[in-house]
Every structure is written in C-alpha cells, then in structure tokens.
C-alpha cells in the first residue's frame, strides 16, 4: 500500500507539472501564433515581389518534389518556392522565372547556414549571378558559371540545385 501511494505521488506530481507547463505553452502560443504567421506570410510576399514584381499571383496546383509553392504571375512569369538541403539545414528560397523561361530573381527566405560563410548566400552579388540563366546552371567547381561562395561550396550547390529545380518545374508546367 505504501508503495502504491508513493508511485501515485510520483505520477501525479509529474502530471501536474506537465499540465501546468502545457497550459502556459498553449497561452504563449495563442499570443504569438497570429504574429508569427503574419510575419512568415509577409516575408514570402516580399520575396515574391522581389524576384518577379506583379500585381497578382495565382496558385498553381501542380506538385513536384522539393517545390513547396508555385504561382503564375499576372504578367506571365512564374514564381516557384523551393526547398533544398544546404550545409546546416533546409534552404527555403523563392525563384522568379520570366515568360521566356529565364531566371529573373532569386531570394533566400530562410536558411541555417554558417554565419560569414554559407550565410553569405543571401548577398545580392551572389544571387544576381543566377539572373538570366536558362537551362542547367552549375557552380564553377562543377564546370559551370556560378562563382561559389568562399568556403561554402555545399551552400552554393544547394542554391544552384534549387534554381535548376525551379526551371525544371516551369518547363513542366509551361
């Protein structure tokens, strides 16, 4: 009987602590959820405007591995959101493709690459290299035209792969 009481006490104490923590987490989640979602949407919309400015984007239903979202812009181009494995995790990016099948902009929405190395993939001069590309792009180490970031070949390859994926997607749809 004594054992039973002790075990019951252990269980109830842990249950109580867990319940209180869960309640508090629910509260904080409720307070921050809307704001986090709004920030995410705003970020994605900003990226879309940056890679291919347009007034209206219509969702394309066609799905492909690695493509998380795709839109047809009212001026005939496409905006494709792709996710590729980088060095430190997923690189989430938006690629704009114009009506004639050329890349017109790349924007990195989120990444977890190393600061000062892979994190440089958000830099304008790196991303600008992809503008105008059609067909397969490669980094210079693989015999291509894209200057890989110093010390971050893996990151550069991942971004390049993402751009290729977006181009392939547009070819498939368009």
């Amino acid at each position: 009987m004594k054992d039973f009481k002790y075990i019951l006490r252990l269980t109830l104490t842990l249950l109580l602590i867990t319940a209180v923590v869960a309640g508090l987490l629910g509260l904080v989640n409720g307070l921050t959820e809307d704001r986090i979602d709004a920030l995410k949407r705003e970020k994605a919309e900003q990226a879309m405007q940056e890679v291919l400015p347009a007034h209206r984007y219509d969702v394309i239903d066609f799905r492909m591995d690695g493509v998380t979202e795709a839109y047809r812009a009212d001026n005939g181009g496409y905006v494709v959101r792709v996710s590729e494995n980088g060095f430190g995790g997923e690189i989430d990016m938006m690629v704009g493709v114009s009506l004639d099948g050329k890349v017109c902009g790349v924007s990195i929405i989120s990444h977890s690459e190393t600061a000062s190395l892979g994190a440089n993939c958000v830099r304008e001069d790196f991303r600008a290299q992809y503008v105008g590309a059609d067909g397969e792009v490669k980094v210079n180490k693989d015999g291509g035209t894209i200057d890989a970031l110093t010390g971050a070949t893996v990151t550069s390859r991942a971004v390049t792969k993402g751009v290729n994926l977006a181009l392939a997607f547009v070819k498939e749809v368009g």
Partner: protein, 213 residues
C-alpha cells in the same frame, strides 16, 4: 548569499563555459558574430533565471526519483516560450540562431545549475545563481565572438552595428579557418588556458593574504 562572490564564480572560477565546460555545442556553433553571441547569451540567461526560480520553488515538492524528468519539462517549457516570443517579436535573431534556440533544452548549463544549485538552495539565491551563471556564459560567448569575428571576418559588431558591422581588416586578410569549427576549438582552448591562469593567480593571492593574516 553573496552576490559579489557568485558573480566572480560565474565569470571566472566557476564559469559555465570556461571552467565547467558546459554548453560546448552552442558555444562552438554560434560564436561567429557579436549579434549571435549577445542574443544567445541573453536567451540562455533569461531561461536559466526562470528555470532556477521555478525548480528552486518546487524543490521540496518534487520527489527525488522523478526530479530530472520534472526539471526537463520545466526547462523545455521555458525554452519553447522564449523560442515563440523571439519568432514573433525578434525574427532577425530567431533566423540567425535557428535551431540553437530549441536546443537550449539540452544545454547542460541549465540542467547542470538546476541539479547543482537550484535543487539545494532558496528561490532568491537560485535567481542570483541563474543571473551570475548567465552573465558568465554571455561573457564567454561575447569574448569568443569578438575574437572569431575579428580574425575570421575582419569585422566588429556584425548585426549589432549595422548589418555588416565595422570593417577593421580588409576583406582579403581574415582567416576563414577561425569561423570554421576548428577555429572555435582553438579560440576556446586559448580562452580556457587564460581563465585557468587567472584563476591560479587569484588563488595564489588569496593564499598570500591568508598567510599574512
């Protein structure tokens, strides 16, 4: 309770990073820019104070057998709250630290202090311990960040003083190695040696004082 003594312990003689060698993973991974160091240090300090206070308040209620489970639930709760709040109100910091904020749950400093201090002392003393240990952790991170950012990127205050910080060395001189994990280990090794040297000097001084008396 002695704030000055606890602060000295947190900063030098019992520094979580440089003397206890806790929280190595985050120390290696994020100390590449000043912004990261300060952000991570403050996040850990806040979580450490909160978890120390709660665990100290509950110390007589929690049976010994389930204490680790109970501590982890409390710590994970605070870490998730901080993670959500950062995502909502400081998205730049949240993006920059990424997965290392949720990973504070398994940062040994928090559980280590809960086990070694908060479970044996009163609420106020535990809060002070959380603060001083947090300051020690932040100080160690900031020093590492400044050294690695200077030698590795040639800048100071990246993210704090403008997006690119203040450039000190021309872009072609910095050694990339220092930003990589290798550089983290080298920097940490030197800092640990320095801390040990200071600690020994301090101990010698104290002994001399006692001898005179």
């Amino acid at each position: 309770m002695n704030f000055k003594k606890q602060l000295k312990e947190g900063l030098l003689t019992n520094n979580p990073v440089l003397s206890q060698l806790l929280g190595m993973c985050s120390t290696m991974a994020i100390t590449t820019t000043l912004f990261n160091g300060i952000g991570m240090g403050l996040s850990v300090t806040i979580i450490l104070i909160c978890s120390n206070v709660v665990i100290s308040a509950l110390r007589k209620l929690i049976p010994d057998k389930i204490r680790i489970a109970a501590y982890i639930v409390v710590i994970a709760g605070f870490v998730t709250m901080v993670d959500l709040l950062l995502k909502a109100y400081l998205p730049a910091l949240s993006d920059s630290l990424g997965v290392f904020i949720p990973l504070i749950v398994v940062n040994c400093i928090i559980l280590g202090r809960a086990e070694a201090f908060a479970s044996k002392h009163g609420v106020l003393a535990s809060a002070v311990d959380g603060l001083t240990q947090g300051i020690g952790y932040t100080a160690a991170l900031v020093v590492m960040c400044i050294i690695r950012e200077f030698l590795g990127s040639g800048t100071f205050g990246k993210g704090v003083l403008g997006a690119d910080g203040v450039r000190i060395l021309p872009a072609q001189y910095p050694a990339l190695l220092v930003i990589l994990p290798v550089g983290g280990f080298l920097t940490l090794g030197c800092l640990i040696a320095l801390t040990q040297w200071i600690n020994r000097k301090l101990a010698e001084k104290e002994k001399e004082k006692e001898a005179v008396q």
